[in-house]
Symmetry: C2
Subunit: 447 residues, 2 copies
């Protein structure tokens, strides 16, 4: 028998015998004819079988085979995985791709339990309980193809520019960001290990190690009790860090070029499908992205009539939506860098501008949601210790990190970006749960 062909290949094949494998999406069991919609990882195709409903008196072998096939199709449960051989026919009246396969043989790989626990319109929590079934939907399959293309474009951009890929440890002897939202576990020799909240310290270590430019795409962990659409206890963090920068502006410049490249790849590869299944036209962002200092952004938001309730000088989620709306209206751009944050609302390792005292850092907003914090880091160990103390941190606890700067270090900076947030916004989804393979949150640890 011929090799398996993918459903997406059928359209360009000549009529004749073919073999396809996939799962049963639906069965339409009419009296005279049976239709099966078979889906594989590339699409769906209609299979057809003229029904043989009863063995006639002078039943020959062929007729009894036909009867058995008809009964087997009638009994097929949705979700059953099977391989079908048959005759491919081109027929433009067939809405599903203009092709049809007349079934010759049918082999079940694993029959599905006929009680399917979820439907396409089940609630999100129920769908997450049965995520492996939920992922069979064409739009969910597309999400992860988009993710694959997006990530590969990021990595290719970096690799072509001589970045080194690192795998920093997720088990640490001390917290990587703060003492809050920290998972800890018993390690060997009565030690306590902490799960990395970010690769921050270790991507900076690569700068002291003379790696120059590095990237990492890896899990990060936050014991975050919140239930928003943007938070998870485990998430995929996209990180880069580069040496010999003049300011955070060099980081922003790299990131905007990187995102432009990756969005272009997504549009080229999946643009039409995204439009069909998500109703979204992928916009490849023009560079440079608009940049607005935080104080100016707050003024713009205030002028639009929204009063930010936060007293710490930062934007709140509604403020982020407002400033993004302004940028969209004014510049027709979906991205905006907000810059010049006060040290009080930034991590101790953000470098400060000697003149203004503000940090050399940015947040990047995409369609009204923060997807990245980027900054130049403080590499002068005496200044770094002062800034840590100012935040109430004990330099003794940071000693292994401070060592990275005691034996020479270049000026450097980088960013961290939440992969799921980008995907959520890119596809117009309401929650990162929809674009995460298996979401982890305070009440969600399985499957």
């Amino acid at each position: 028998m011929s090799e398996r062909v993918l459903v997406k290949q059928l359209k360009s094949l000549p009529e004749g015998p073919v073999r396809v494998s996939g799962w049963v999406e639906t069965v339409r069991d009419q009296k005279k004819v049976q239709f099966v919609i078979l889906r594989d990882e590339t699409g769906a195709v209609q299979l057809v079988n003229p029904a043989t409903r009863e063995a006639t008196d002078d039943a020959d072998a062929a007729a009894s085979v036909a009867l058995a096939l008809t009964e087997e199709i009638s009994a097929l449960a949705s979700g059953t995985f099977l391989t079908v051989t048959g005759e491919l026919k081109h027929d433009e009246r067939v809405k599903l791709g203009g092709v049809e396969i007349k079934i010759a043989t049918l082999e079940v790989a694993a029959a599905a339990n006929p009680e399917t626990p979820i439907a396409a319109d089940s609630g999100l929590d129920k769908r997450m309980d049965w995520r492996f079934l939920d992922l069979r939907q064409a739009r969910n399959n597309l999400i992860f193809r988009v993710q694959t293309t997006f990530e590969h474009a990021l990595r290719t951009y970096w690799v072509e520019r001589d970045y080194i890929e690192i795998h920093s440890p997720k088990l640490m002897a001390s917290p990587s960001e703060s003492n809050a939202e920290l998972f800890s576990l018993d390690y060997f020799e009565d030690k306590t290990a902490y799960l990395a909240q970010s690769p921050q310290f270790f991507k900076q270590m690569a700068q002291s190690a003379g790696f120059g430019k590095i990237f990492e795409i890896a899990p990060a962990f936050r014991a975050d009790p919140s239930f928003t659409s943007r938070h998870a206890t485990e998430f995929t963090s996209v990180d880069a860090e580069i040496s010999w920068i003049d300011s955070h502006e060099d980081v922003a410049h790299m990131q905007e070029e990187l995102l432009q490249t990756a969005f272009q790849a997504v549009k080229d590869t999946h643009g039409a499908e995204i439009e069909e299944l998500f109703g979204i036209e992928v916009q490849v962002p023009a560079v440079p992205f608009p940049r607005i200092p935080l104080a100016e952004a707050r003024q713009i938001v205030a002028d639009r009539g929204y009063e930010i309730p936060r007293t710490d000088g930062d934007l709140d989620p509604e403020g982020e939506r407002q400033i993004s709306a302004y940028v969209q209206e004014t510049y027709g751009h979906q991205f905006v860098f907000i810059t010049d944050y006060h040290p009080e609302i930034r991590a101790f390792y953000h470098m400060r501008d000697a003149e203004t005292g503000l940090t050399k850092s940015y947040d990047l907003l995409f369609k009204g949601v923060e997807i990245t914090t980027g900054a130049q880091r403080e590499h002068r160990v005496d200044v770094l210790i002062e800034q840590a103390k100012e935040k109430g941190l004990d330099p003794a606890h940071l000693d292994f990190y401070l060592d990275f700067f005691r034996y020479g270090a270049p000026p450097h900076g980088g960013f961290g970006m939440g992969l799921a947030r980008v995907l959520m916004l890119l596809l117009g989804e309401a929650s990162i749960r929809e674009v995460t393979y298996l979401f982890r949150g305070p009440t969600r640890l399985a499957p």
Copy 2:
């Protein structure tokens, strides 16, 4: 001033003013002339300065600047990161790359503590204490460039063949492989979470989800108390899983093609440097790799005079070296698939051959060390339950996993490969500690 240029670019630049940034490897402070070896992420270059040792009576401004520069160079500690401008000269007498820069200005970014805690010949444990300094060595830098090229070649192979990249969760409600060597932690709502020992269950889930072909490169965690050169408590696992296979042979075929592609990329990009710094000629493996059934491999090892002490029918590390030596002598090949393992020494989810009762699985050895286990998985849920029971596992604890096969599943299989083991063997290193960015073991949780 001009843009920063990388050391590797100097050779092809015309003589004239340049700017380089990097760190001080050595200073040779002679009476009449000073030499600084500056290294950056691409190589090392000699900087030169005619020493001005004392201000003359009729000292003019230029002379006092020259004196200050001389004194600054004398005081430079190894490891100090700095930017130098000067005149590039081509001079074939200069052993280091045939170029030299006559220093005009020198700007220190961060001065190193003059007491460097390690030397190139320090012991491994000491070097790991100061890994960020250890990584400044050219050969260590090369390790991670090789890793970057290797991984990107793997991913590109997969992406070009329509594989989907997944990020499976590392926090789980139940063990992913066995109850041994398991890290656990307190989660929300008094739950216990476990760190994934492998992505096994979740990469199989992608098959039930109809993803077809998937890959993942991500951390995995084992509370493994052993101190061998091949084990770690956290390691980077390279995983792939594919649907609609006929047997483990389809998996092996993909893996050998994949490795051939990736080794070719490493040889093309870094072959000369690997030969120079590691004394290793990268061999691109021919396909197909040799395949030897386990029973036959044991016989070959016995015929070579080595008696395997294990009584479970498997190979031991010396047996693996012996069979690899045999394959090298007989076929001139560094790789060998050992096949047909007895179910007793394989995981419960390995499919068994209906005729022989042996598992449809393999181990892949590279230069005498196991780097991979691959297999076709059992996708028939009733058989899977029986096999789990036979291993003493309670199917109730596996229920979320067994569900993946109750609603239809394709025949499928895959492999897991330890990234550090491949790199160690490829570069002829003695331990995975040498090729891991920051190693984690029973007594090693920092830096």
